[in-house]
């Protein structure tokens, strides 16, 4: 029983903590973000398993976590708004060539981040070549270039 409760508590806790830390927190923008992710995973592992190293315990945990995930995705499908609250929504950061500075500040993204995505995804050189830049749900920035 304890395993199931541990799994559920940790799932909910991690979901809340990542939701409130913002989309960009765990987007692997720097090497350190990756290291941070590893540390968090290692720490969470202790809380999940406790001292019980049995196969039963691991199986139960995996089943619990997957079942929680499946239930949530079903709920999200049924109640769209619930999904939006849980996962967030995409945010337009650069609208028709114009930077929306107040939004950039709120989501902790700057011009350099947008240009990084522009180079990476579209091979663009300048900010004025971008028509739309969108911060997606998962923290990536997607770019739509201006038509030539």
């Amino acid at each position: 029983m304890e395993t199931v409760i541990r799994g559920l508590i940790l799932y909910v806790f991690l979901m809340i903590i990542f939701r409130i830390s913002g989309k960009r927190t765990l987007y692997e923008a720097t090497v350190f973000d990756f290291v941070l992710l590893l540390i968090i995973a290692e720490t969470a592992e202790q809380a999940l398993g406790g001292e019980d190293k049995s196969i039963t315990n691991s199986f139960l945990l995996i089943v619990t976590l997957l079942l929680t995930d499946i239930s949530l995705s079903l709920l999200k499908q049924k109640f769209k708004y619930f999904g939006k609250v849980l996962d967030g929504v995409p945010v337009i950061l650069l609208d028709d060539g114009k930077l929306l500075h107040d939004r950039l500040k709120k989501v902790r993204v700057d011009e350099a981040d947008i240009m990084e995505s522009a180079r990476d995804l579209q091979g663009l050189q300048r900010l004025d070549q971008i028509k739309y830049a969108i911060l997606e749900k998962d923290g990536r920035i997607t770019i739509i270039p201006k038509e030539q």
Partner: protein
């Protein structure tokens, strides 16, 4: 799907997102508070200024207990008991209630009691003393959760403490 400026199909909901940003800011403040509470020792395992270390009873009465207000389940902790033998008896009994041995995993007792036995009210440790005040340290690992009333008693005096055990 909604259309932004008639061309970009995007499910944007800036009202929800603004609400989310506000919640995020509040949550960051809460996270700061949690860290401060942890530094001050309110989540167990020591803290700045030792605010969470409490004493109960007094050595003048022959029984004094030093303990941490907050413990963590499964984490090592220690409880120090100062005992002052009375009269010319070289053996001294320390009685603890049932919760102690049911909800604490006693790793080690220093000094080792010369005798220990359980009974209906709990457990009794009998220590050999040199007719001088002496200190007993219990190294324990809490097994329960929540507030746990403990009663330490000698033949003359009883002291109650209530540590809180985090999950």
């Amino acid at each position: 799907m909604k259309k932004h400026k008639g061309e970009l199909e995007i499910d944007e909901d800036i009202k929800l997102e603004s609400a989310n940003w506000k919640v995020q800011r509040v949550a960051w403040v809460l996270m700061v508070l949690v860290v401060i509470a942890a530094l001050l020792g309110f989540t167990g395992n020591g803290g700045i200024g030792n605010l969470q270390r409490l004493k109960a009873g007094s050595s003048a009465d022959g029984l004094e207990i030093e303990y941490e207000r907050f413990l963590r389940r499964g984490a090592p902790a220690e409880i120090k008991v100062n005992l002052v033998p009375s009269g010319g008896d070289s053996l001294m009994d320390l009685r603890l209630n049932k919760d102690f041995y049911e909800k604490f995993h006693v790793e080690r007792i220093l000094p080792e009691p010369s005798e220990q036995f359980t009974h209906e009210q709990g457990i009794t440790y009998r220590f050999a003393s040199a007719n001088q005040p002496f200190l007993v340290i219990f190294y324990v690992k809490p097994d329960g959760m929540g507030s746990l009333p403990l009663q330490f008693s000698t033949s003359e005096k009883a002291v109650r403490i209530t540590p809180f055990i985090y999950p």
